[in-house]
């Protein structure tokens, strides 16, 4: 017989579906701002970038 302290084995389902759709316009505006900031940083010419001349 199973002892009281022994818990039955549990199959933990692997959580693969994640995410939450954001609909708040303020949050979307904030993420657009973050994106623009990163894109500007990405486009900044490097010292040896001749295309900027």
């Amino acid at each position: 017989m199973r002892k009281k302290s022994q818990k039955p084995l549990q199959v933990v389902p692997f959580r693969f579906l994640v995410g939450e759709i954001v609909v708040d316009p303020a949050e979307i505006a904030a993420v657009e701002k973050m994106r623009n900031r990163l894109r500007i940083k990405k486009r900044k010419p490097r010292p040896n970038d001749r295309s900027a001349v």
Binding site: V18, E20, I21, V31, K42
Partner: protein, 139 residues
């Protein structure tokens, strides 16, 4: 250390119609309707979009992530989904699926999916994938 180095790496990004987990095997998935484009008969065009990601991280931790669907023409964010990637150990590979829901595409052309991860308040772009919407020729 730079944010990009501390956050998970996007090893695979697949756009599809649906993702189903195997009933018999753990961490095995079926991707339905893997695509690079949609053909739209009218605009705005509505489509249900799923994104399957294979992420890896050299260090364990919990990393908040964001996926954006961006209209390349207007640079507007059409869909914004937040998620959390949790790595219980170092050097793990983690599959995850994101349901972007019904997305409305206002016009044909190029769209882009962008995956961002943040750590210590700083964000880094870790993955990009184009998605094209073609207008159907038959009227």
């Amino acid at each position: 250390m730079a944010t990009a180095a501390l956050t998970p790496r996007v090893r695979t990004l697949v756009i599809c119609d649906d993702v189903a987990a195997s009933l018999t095997e753990d961490r095995v998935f079926t991707l339905e309707g893997v695509r690079f484009e949609f053909v739209a008969s009218h605009f705005p065009f509505r489509a249900s979009v799923f994104v399957f990601l294979a992420l890896s991280s050299s260090r364990k931790g919990i990393f908040p992530g964001e996926i954006l669907l961006v209209n390349e023409q207007s640079e507007k964010v059409l869909r914004y989904v937040k998620f959390v990637a949790e790595f219980s150990g170092d050097n793990q590979l983690m599959p995850c699926a994101l349901d972007l829901g019904d997305c409305f595409f206002p016009n044909g052309g190029l769209y882009r999916l962008e995956v961002y991860f943040s750590v210590q308040g700083a964000n880094a772009l870790k993955g990009e994938h184009p998605l094209t919407i073609f207008a159907s020729e038959k009227e």
